[in-house]
């Protein structure tokens, strides 16, 4: 019998610190010029992926997005979430003075670094942050091995 250990390769996961520099420069100019000088180069929406002992936690910044305008799916190691941030409805004779926020339709797919239990994935949207918790499959959980 051949034992196959399947692990999804970690693709497209840059260093967590890569964005600090870019954000720093952008904010410096924003402060000086009082405006959105440097549009962000990051993907929208911004996400965090954190591995905990027994689960993977994915966070996404989704301000202004309603629960009913958001869909999440999981298929073959890929977690996809997408939806729409509906634009504000302006009252009659109103005009925009500033428009800095990201909005409209979005979708983002993340390849998970290991197997999870698809039936136990939970998601919560609170204060504009989506939190998806994906419990690790038994095969990838850390296990202590007793020495006899």
């Amino acid at each position: 019998m051949v034992l196959r250990v399947q692990r999804f390769p970690v693709v497209g996961f840059p260093s967590p610190h890569l964005f600090d520099f870019e954000r720093g420069i952008g904010e410096l100019f924003n402060d000086i010029l009082d405006g959105d000088f440097m549009p962000t180069l990051r993907e929208y929406p911004a996400v965090d992926v954190a591995e905990q002992e027994n689960e993977l936690v994915i966070l996404a910044e989704l301000p202004g997005v309603r629960k009913e305008d958001l869909a999440i799916s999981f298929h073959e190691g890929l977690l996809t979430f997408g939806g729409e941030r509906k634009p504000a409805v302006l009252p009659e004779k109103a005009t925009w003075l500033r428009n800095e926020t990201s909005g409209g339709k979005f979708t983002r797919t993340l390849r998970l670094p290991f197997e999870v239990k698809p039936d136990e994935i939970t998601a919560e949207l609170k204060n504009g942050v989506l939190r998806v918790v994906l419990p690790k499959a038994e095969v990838v959980r850390p296990r202590e091995i007793r020495v006899k």
């Binding site: 970690v10 996961f13 840059p14 967590p16 610190h17 964005f19 600090d20 954000r23 904010e27 924003n30 402060d31 959105d36 990051r42 993907e43 911004a46 996400v47 965090d48 992926v49 954190a50 591995e51 905990q52 002992e53 936690v57 966070l59 910044e61 989704l62 301000p63 202004g64 997005v65 309603r66 504000a88 302006l90 009252p91 009659e92 004779k93 109103a94 005009t95 925009w96 003075l97 500033r98 428009n99 800095e100 926020t101 990201s102 993340l110 670094p113 204060n127 504009g128 942050v129």
Partner: protein, 138 residues
Amino acid sequence: MTRKNEVTVVQQENPTSLARTEQERDYMRPAADVYESLEAYVLMIDMPGAGKESISVTMDRSALVVKGSVEPLHEEKASLLVGEIRTTGYYRVFNLGDDIDGNTVDARYELGVLTVKLFKKEEVRPREISINSYSGKE
């Protein structure tokens, strides 16, 4: 809108202090959309992850200061594989014109967005003047 989303706006005569604490110095400048209607200016400020209790809105005659902090997003033992969200809090100052009536301000926090409605002074609101046309005898 439900009352639980309302945010108290502190209004003061003296200029609001713009000083920041050591912690607040790392706060990022939140993106904002602003529109002007006939009766008010409306600010919509993206502050995802900020706890409602942490949000403060302070204003004087010339400035509106918005602050809010974000609780740590991850467990201490978690290892970060992707870290694009680098927010510990939000801080932004909006300069106000002298056409704002400081007595009527609404603020609420919903879906991670802080909306502040600053009503204009009664005397600067545009008034519609109906035009009567006289096209001869009626």
